[in-house]
Structures are given as structure tokens and as C-alpha cells.
């Protein structure tokens, strides 16, 4: 953690939790899934990110200021959520601060919830969920959880840095990616990523309400999606479509 980005705890943080991340990205999958987890698991704000790297934004809730990046939790899970897209040049320090803090709380696993764009998403009959792990052991956990491994390709954004940092630090981690729209909020994909989460971690929530409110969520998420599109373009998110050229 640096002076530029530090985590302020609002209450005692339990040890040995599963720490999840839901950040604005393709289809807003992570943010929509995180928002549903907060509601279904009745999570409270337990910490927040204080950072001079963020734009001068506060989020007002019931008249009081909050950081746009907060950590919610209970006795068994922590969930870091951002209500604003991260600018490309702030992803490293912000993700490092969150991950280092999570490690200091002895989290047993970190899981990023996100999406992977699907070209013909509108015609897709079912949405697949893929995952990448921080170690060979985590790949086994992914397979045992019934999720397909994303074995080759590019990953761009906070979830990519989470996986890399956790791999370096020896923290077990998984990035879960549901096939989704690139440019449009995708509650159906968020429901699929939550099913994948349940398979791998045992953190289960009912997704029926999420699907029921799907169209409403799409109306409400328009502006965040629009801003996220701008940041995705800055961080060359389109590279996830690229055919990789491996140098061995």
C-alpha cells in the first residue's frame, strides 16, 4: 500500500475470508454481480479506498460522502467494488493496494468477477463462463468447480492485474469471466458469473431477482457503461479480441 492509495478500515476485518472484486469492465458484469451479492448477502461497508489517484469524485449515499471504491463484507467474504471505471494509469497502484491489504488480512482466496466479450452475444443461446487461475492448484480448483479454463488469450484490466499480482505474492486467485456484451450492461452474464462463483467458492446467491430486474438494471447502468467504454478504449481493452502470438 502506498500513500497514493490506501485502505481505510471502518471496522475489524476478519481473517480467512474470500475476497472478491467487481469493477466496471465489459458488460459491467463485475459491478452488476457485486451489487447483487451485496443485496443478497446483506453485506456492509467495512473499508474504503482513499486515493489521490482517483478523479475528484465522491459518491453520495443518503447525503453522506463515500469513496467510489469500497469494500463490503461479512464474517466470510470481502467484496471490493468500484462505482467508477478505473483510468488505465491508476489500475496498477489501486489494485496493488487492494491486493496487498487483502493479503495482510490473510484472505484464503481472491476472485475477480468480470466478463469476456462475445462477438455474437445477441444470438447466444447460453453464456459460457471461463476462468483463469493464479497457480496450477487454482486451475484444479476451477476444474473441480465445473468451470472451463481460459487457457490462451489476452486479459486486459483490473482483473488481469489482480491475477498477476496474486500469482507473484502466492495468494490463491481466480478471475471468472462470463461471455457478455462488450458495450452494454449484461445482467444475464452477471447471473452466469455468480453461478461460476458458487461452483468454485461455495458462495451461493439466488440469481432469480437479478434476472427479473435485468432490463431495469440496463436502464440504470447506461451512464456508468458509457464512461466505462471510454476507459476500456484507453486501456486497449479491444486486445482481448486479438489472436495471441506466443513467444516461447
Amino acid at each position: 500500500m502506498t500513500e497514493e492509495a490506501k485502505i481505510i478500515e471502518k471496522r475489524k476485518i476478519p481473517s480467512g475470508t474470500i475476497m472478491m472484486f467487481g469493477f466496471p469492465d465489459v458488460g459491467l458484469v463485475g459491478v452488476i454481480a457485486a451489487s447483487h451479492l451485496i443485496e443478497e448477502l446483506d453485506l456492509d461497508e467495512v473499508a474504503y479506498l482513499d486515493s489521490t489517484l482517483l478523479p475528484p469524485i465522491i459518491v453520495l449515499h443518503e447525503g453522506l460522502p463515500h469513496s467510489p471504491i469500497r469494500v463490503f463484507g461479512n464474517d466470510s467474504v470481502l467484496l471490493a467494488v468500484s462505482e467508477t471505471p478505473l483510468a488505465a494509469d491508476t489500475i496498477y497502484p489501486i489494485m496493488y493496494a487492494l491486493i496487498d491489504w487483502g493479503k495482510s488480512k490473510n484472505v484464503k482466496m481472491m476472485v475477480s468477477l468480470s466478463g469476456i466479450p462475445l462477438e455474437e452475444r445477441q444470438d447466444a443461446k447460453e453464456l459460457k463462463v471461463f476462468a483463469a487461475g493464479s497457480s496450477p492448484e487454482m486451475l484444479k480448483t476451477i476444474k473441480d468447480g465445473g468451470v472451463e479454463i481460459l487457457s490462451e488469450g489476452y486479459m486486459v484490466g483490473p482483473q488481469a492485474i489482480m491475477l498477476q499480482r496474486c500469482s507473484q505474492l502466492g495468494v490463491p486467485a481466480v478471475t471468472l469471466l462470463a461471455q457478455c456484451f462488450y458495450n452494454y450492461p449484461d445482467p444475464e452474464a452477471a447471473a452466469e458469473v455468480l453461478k461460476g462463483l458458487a461452483g468454485i467458492t461455495g458462495v451461493k446467491v439466488d440469481v432469480a431477482k437479478l434476472l427479473e430486474k435485468g432490463e431495469e438494471i440496463r436502464v440504470k447502468a447506461r451512464d456508468v457503461m458509457k464512461r466505462t467504454q471510454q476507459e476500456m478504449s484507453n486501456m486497449k481493452k479491444g486486445q482481448e479480441y486479438d489472436i495471441p502470438m506466443y513467444v516461447s
Binding site: Y184, P185, E215, E216, R218, V219, R222, M225, K226
Partner: protein, 143 residues
């Protein structure tokens, strides 16, 4: 005082060109004042939209959640401009959208789009599924 003129390499010229272009783009971006994605007077919201120019066609997608398919209108205003509007199944207030310092409600989506290449507007095809509109416009082929 003799001024030594440094010879510039092709890469220097190239870099300079792109730096100039970047600065121009920044100036262009800054010239836009950000506005809201809604129009209270018309009770409309601007939908999220996207356009892909493919070799044989232009594909436009528009996210129109909570809308009635029967109210959907896609008009070609001219050879390059599309106007899209759709009525929502129910009104949505600012309060429902989590905004308490504005009053009002919305009942329609409305958008304009400029197509950057020549297309055959008369051959436009549309598809609407789960609140997502897809418009296919065949491109005019050069002879």
C-alpha cells in the same frame, strides 16, 4: 551565431506527426461540453448504441431495455442519418434511477446516428430481441 541544423530521422518526423495529431485530438475532445444522457423536456433518455462498419454492411445495435417492440421506430432522415425512438413499457422517474435532486420521469428512448459510409437505406433490415435492436444497412458498393 551559427545555428546547427540537426538532421531529423524518419522516426522523428513520424513521432512528431503523431504527437501533433494527439494534441489535435485532445483539443477536439475538450471542445465538447459533456451533457446529460436524458432530455427532461421531451421525457426521453438516450440509449447506449454502437456501430460497426463491415466490408459489406453497417451494423448498428441499440440497447432499448423496458421498451415495447410495437412502438419501435427506425427512420432514415437522409442517406446518412438514422433516428431511433421507442416507448418504454412503464415510466421511470429520477427517484427510481437513484437521483433525488431532479424531478421528472422518462417514457421514451430517442437517438440519432450518423453512418460514416454510403449505405442503402432502403434495404435496411431490423431485428429486435430482448430489448436489443439490431439494424443492418448494406453498404453501397463502388463501381
Amino acid at each position: 551565431m551559427a545555428i546547427e541544423k540537426k538532421k531529423r530521422s524518419f522516426i522523428d518526423v513520424f513521432d512528431e506527426y503523431f504527437d501533433d495529431m494527439e494534441r489535435e485530438l485532445d483539443r477536439w475532445r475538450e471542445s465538447f461540453v459533456e451533457g446529460p444522457s436524458w432530455n427532461l423536456k421531451a421525457s426521453t433518455m438516450e440509449p447506449l448504441k454502437n456501430m460497426r462498419v463491415l466490408p459489406t454492411e453497417v451494423v448498428v445495435t441499440v440497447d432499448l431495455p423496458l421498451t415495447k417492440e410495437s412502438s419501435l421506430k427506425v427512420k432514415a432522415l437522409d442517406q446518412r442519418t438514422l433516428e431511433i425512438s421507442a416507448e418504454m413499457r412503464r415510466k421511470m422517474s429520477f427517484k427510481e434511477l437513484g437521483v433525488t435532486h431532479h424531478k421528472g420521469e422518462f417514457q421514451r428512448f430517442h437517438a440519432h446516428m450518423q453512418v460514416p459510409v454510403a449505405v442503402q437505406m432502403k434495404k435496411m433490415k431490423t431485428k429486435f430481441k430482448k430489448g436489443m435492436l439490431e439494424i443492418h444497412l448494406p453498404r453501397k458498393q463502388k463501381r
